[in-house]
């Protein structure tokens, strides 16, 4: 603000000063020219020529002033009436006031003149009226100060208004962040819908808060579930060890107890590893390997791996692949995701008297879809979103082995590649679709790395 003010004051001041200099120089030059002309007249024909020339010039209206006097100060010719005594005795450049008739009678005006003494006591006064210039100067000066004042007013006022609006909005952001820091994550920064920089910033902050809230929600859920799903086997493990100690059994019973303990611990380690993998996938620190994957090979690999398991449950596991479905990704991760889907279908997709599981790979153009469809009883529509969450095991499956993490790992893998997992109705049965977008098509997605 101050910078702007002083810059414009400087600019106006400079113009004012330059104008003054220019006008002064013009005035000087005019007077010089007059004098030069009159000097020529005097040199050519003495005082009589001079008076004649002065008389002539005095007749032309203008701002030039002339006076020729004799040695007693009496006026001989010229358009000035008289001059004061003080002035009379000075020689050279003088500034003085003189009177001139006007519409309103007589007015006093300012003049600048040179006074010369000529031989024989004559005096010559050549000058110019500078009253107009003085008025002009006064107007410019006044304009300068008024302009400066106006500018300062507008600048300060405008600046205050603008910054008050801006600060109010920033204050709103500060207030929101304070509420959030105090623990209320549901608060959001208000938007004014203008789409300006601040609005865009607020929108991004809100999106960030949404993501944080979602993560916090996930964390809370995990810790609740860890408490439940890990505490149970840990308690079982501890009780078993305690019971073995208390019962004072033989070597065989001790050994059995120890083996069961190790098994329980292995199960716990598996659960922890699965949790860790999911956490790493969600943090985006895993799965950097970029393998060219032939969906055909991948699907056949896993169908072949699980086929005997399916047969044991009297289920059929078949692969249905179109040729030439290729994509890039971490073969191990995507393989594990597919394995989990198949594993799930075999575990829960049967009806007890057998069943069918079909694994399909298809290219939709935008994404490669790995589809595992079973002919079991499916999942009721209201539970479908829930199955992808950590540790969620639908009621009837609680009694069967499994950590409840298999499908959430699939969901985490899908998210890592900017894709999705769809839980659909196979009529009858469940149809799980792991959709992985082709590389070039998910560049704009902020969730992908």
């Amino acid at each position: 603000m101050a910078l702007f003010g002083s810059a414009s004051a400087g600019a106006i001041g400079y113009i004012y000063y330059q104008t003054n200099v220019l006008l002064a120089r013009q005035l000087e030059q005019t007077i010089e020219a007059e004098i030069r002309g009159l000097a020529e007249q005097y040199n050519a024909g003495g005082i009589s020529n001079l008076t004649k020339a002065v008389s002539n010039r005095s007749l032309t209206p203008g701002n030039s002033l002339y006076l020729v006097t004799d040695k007693d100060g009496r006026r001989i010719t010229g358009n000035l009436a008289s001059i004061s005594k003080d002035l009379w005795n000075t020689v050279g450049r003088v500034e003085f006031a003189y009177k001139r008739p006007s519409q309103k009678g007589v007015e006093s005006r300012l003049a600048l003149a040179s006074i010369f003494r000529l031989p024989g006591g004559f005096r010559l006064i050549v000058g110019r009226d500078i009253e107009d210039r003085r008025i002009f100067e006064r107007i410019v000066r006044r304009a300068f100060f008024i302009g400066l004042g106006f500018m300062a007013l507008v600048g300060l006022g405008g600046g205050w208004l603008v910054s008050r609006g801006l600060l109010a909005r920033i204050d709103a952001v500060t207030a929101t962040s304070r509420t959030i820091m105090e623990g209320d994550l549901s608060e959001r920064v208000p938007l004014n819908g203008s789409g300006d920089e601040l609005d865009r910033l607020s929108r991004n902050l809100n999106a960030m808060l949404d993501r944080i809230e979602q993560l916090m929600e996930g964390m809370r859920e995990v810790s609740d579930n860890i408490a439940h799903d890990l505490k149970t086997p840990l308690t079982r493990l501890r009780n078993r060890a305690e019971a073995a100690l208390r019962e004072r059994g033989n070597a065989k019973s001790y050994q059995d107890a120890l083996e069961q303990t190790i098994q329980e611990a292995d199960g716990l380690i598996k659960t922890f590893n699965a949790l860790l993998s999911i956490a790493r996938l969600e943090a985006g620190t895993a799965g950097n390997a970029m393998n060219e994957i032939d969906a055909n090979v991948l699907v056949q690999d896993f169908v072949e791996l699980y086929e005997p398991t399916a047969e044991e449950k009297k289920m059929t596991l078949t692969a249905k692949v179109a040729n030439g479905v290729h994509f890039t990704g971490d073969r191990q991760l995507i393989g594990q995701a597919l394995a989990n889907l198949i594993d799930n279908a075999i575990k829960y997709g049967g009806t007890g008297k057998g069943g069918e599981v079909e694994v399909t790979a298809a290219d939709t153009g935008r994404a490669v879809e790995l589809i595992v469809a079973d002919s079991g009883q499916g999942i009721p529509e209201e539970d479908r979103d829930r199955v992808l969450k950590r540790f969620v095991r639908l009621e009837e499956s609680r009694s069967r082995p499994g950590s409840g993490l298999g499908l959430s790992l699939v969901a985490a893998v899908a998210r890592l590649y900017g894709g999705s997992v769809r839980v659909e109705d196979n009529e009858p049965g469940l149809r799980m679709v792991l959709s992985l977008p082709h590389k070039s098509n998910h560049n704009g997605d902020t969730r992908t790395r």
Partner: protein, 251 residues
């Protein structure tokens, strides 16, 4: 969860602690900074009939591995002074080709790839079971013997020809699916040793994750049905809590 993995009861079940006794004693260098882990490994390896050495940091480990001959190295990834991967890559630069197993708390595929690229031969994620570790180092020590020249494996009356892909037991040809062949080939390559389920998934299927259910066991029982069922003496044994082993001296 793994209870259902212990399948047949009619076959010989071998106690896990004896698994090491079937192979020659190995000189094992443990490079591990955690003294408790090192003490546990030293004790367990001795019990399995091997001869362990211990170095507590990367520099000491490098010096020991260079100056003395070992059959296998167990290298922790995070070590004071010189990290595990550097120890291995420096050894490899100096021409020391002792097989090395990397122990790490980092278990993702990327870390594994980095470990193997540095010159490690196998990778095991903490926490691990000792039987898994033992099975792996025994397999590694065996691997250091030249194997490419071997075209036929023979265990008792079971023969596998790697070139013609033919399997014969007691003179009777046995027809195997390609994957069953590779499964048997891997087991026979490590005849007398224990191989774990994850080792099988890694080497036969080339997938490096923990299978959630007993997929491997079902493949084994299919293989077993083909190679053991019609014969008096079972060769493919389940080693409870650890994995499988193919050997003649079953009972």
């Amino acid at each position: 969860m793994t209870l259902e993995a212990q399948i047949p009861t009619d076959l010989t079940v071998q106690d896990m602690s004896t698994s090491g006794l079937n192979s020659e004693p190995m000189r094992v260098l443990i490079i591990e900074d955690d003294s408790e882990t090192a003490a546990f490994l030293t004790k367990a390896l001795k019990e399995a009939g091997h001869v362990p050495d211990h170095a507590a940091d990367g520099e000491a480990g490098l010096a020991l591995a260079e100056s003395q001959v070992h059959d296998v190295l167990i290298v922790d990834r995070m070590l004071p002074k010189l990290d595990g991967l550097s120890v291995i890559s420096q050894l490899r630069e100096k021409g020391v080709q002792t097989p090395a197993l990397i122990l790490s708390a980092l278990g993702e595929v990327d870390d594994r790839v980095k470990g193997l690229r540095a010159g490690g031969d196998d990778y095991l994620t903490k926490p691990y079971s000792f039987s898994e570790l033992l099975a792996r180092i025994e397999a590694l020590a065996r691997r250091s013997a030249p194997e490419e020249a071997v075209t036929k494996y023979k265990v008792d009356d079971l023969e596998l020809d790697r070139l013609t892909h033919k399997v014969v037991r007691s003179g009777q040809p046995i027809l195997l699916q390609p994957r069953e062949f590779r499964l048997l080939e891997y087991l026979m390559k490590h005849a007398g040793q224990v191989v774990t389920r994850t080792m099988l998934l890694e080497h036969v299927w080339d997938y490096h994750f923990d299978p959630q259910t007993n997929v491997i066991d079902v493949h084994i029982s299919r293989l077993r049905a083909k190679i053991d069922k019609e014969f008096d003496k079972p060769l493919l044994h389940t080693v409870r809590g650890v994995g499988y082993s193919i050997r003649a001296d079953g009972a």
